[in-house]
Symmetry: C2
Subunit: 249 residues, 2 copies
């Protein structure tokens, strides 16, 4: 693929890398030359299946995916999301097994990142910023899981939705997909419910409350945070990206 075309499709990836570490032009060249060809999958594609071998690390260039598990009676839990610019399947060990399934919830463009593994894992001393970015991304992945536990463990439905919206806005912002308060959220109320441990009906009613109070605005998939200060108070949201960016290392 011509470099210009790949660059155009990788803007979320590059934006996110820049948010994680001070990446140089050399780093970006290395990054671009290491990525595999762009692959495209429709909504509903199973990118990973729980318990099966992970073929290798991938970057999502566009679209969203869900880490998910079902109980036998049909209850579903969504553990978290993989957004544009974010990686999945990148693991210290070779050929690991997936701990959860990963399903696209939009059309997705992604690319292989196997050639980047050594740099990410710090085995290649030529690209310390890529190593650093990967380490921070790993820490963020854990922070998002902890967020998820706080939300469903000790917050009300109202707080859960606010907390999640703030997190998604922040992650979209890192990918250059939010201006700080408006972003595209391609999630149905059913997905929100299965993520937040609520019923669809209750998600619906709680969203209506948030809209009525003018705290958020929602038009089809576009979400706007109207009063971020107040919302951060409500949900006691503290952004892990801020914390992680202060890491010396």
């Amino acid at each position: 693929m011509p470099r210009a075309a790949l660059l155009a499709q990788s803007s979320a990836l590059i934006s996110r890398f820049r948010s994680l570490a001070p990446i140089s032009e050399t780093d970006i060249n290395f990054l671009m030359s290491s990525l595999g060809p762009v692959e495209r999958y429709p909504n509903g594609t199973e990118l990973l299946r729980e318990g099966e071998v992970i073929p290798g690390p991938r970057y999502i260039l566009d679209g969203w995916a869900l880490r998910t598990r079902y109980l036998s009676d049909g209850r579903r839990q969504i553990f978290g999301f993989v957004l544009p610019g974010e990686a999945y399947g990148l693991c210290e060990r070779e050929r690991p097994l997936a701990l959860t399934s990963l399903i696209t919830c939009t059309a997705v463009a992604l690319c292989d990142a196997s050639a980047l593994r050594p740099a990410c894992l710090g085995l290649d001393p030529d690209f310390p910023q890529i190593t650093r970015a990967h380490q921070r991304a790993t820490a963020l992945d854990e922070a998002y899981l902890l967020h998820q536990i706080i939300r469903i463990g000790r917050q009300t439905a109202y707080e859960r939705l606010v907390h999640l919206f703030l997190e998604l806005n922040s992650r979209c912002h890192a990918a250059g997909l939010s201006d700080g308060s408006t972003f595209e959220m391609p999630l149905t109320q059913e997905v929100l419910a299965d993520c937040l441990g609520l019923s669809i009906v209750h998600v619906n009613r709680t969203l209506q409350t948030l809209r009525r109070e003018q705290l958020i605005e929602q038009r089809s998939p576009i979400v706007t945070i109207r009063d971020k200060e107040k919302l951060m108070m409500i949900a006691e949201y503290s952004d892990p990206q801020v914390a992680v960016s202060r890491w010396g290392n």
Copy 2:
């Protein structure tokens, strides 16, 4: 410290290592010679504080600790536990910040494992089984977080307690602290509540139901799983240690 005394205090650690990978006598000698002196802390000690630098990797030799976070109004969420034989603060990156606080909930004996870092991270090719054990332990840590999300996201109070007891029993078993169905669980009902996203009162009543149904038995800190098959069905529990042990790596 004389080797025999250290060995005696490290039995949970060694037991857990053996459950993670086929450790040789050479590995154990290396392990024992790498560990720092045993340190002892009383109940309620803060081993890590959220947002502060992690001093280095440690192994818990005896006692339990809680990963925890508070909301400003006093609500507490417990993310998970660190049990005997398990590590904390072991991270790819140097001098990372703690994502959660870690508080002992019993008297605890632990030791420094900084000298083991290279072997754990695979930087020392002489001890591949230690590397493997560490990788599996890391995967288990994530699996336990996912367990936590499943429990509080999509299970009833009844299922949550069963699921947690099965997990704790399994982890104690790896440390040689359970015969497969009986183990010591030094958690108050308040801790269980803050772990499972429930109120103390409801934990109390649900435990009574489980005891009444003879599915579990409880005497002070001793818990006995009476009908593991049935309990595993109830909570849809699948043991990650079984899954992880099948990894080829």
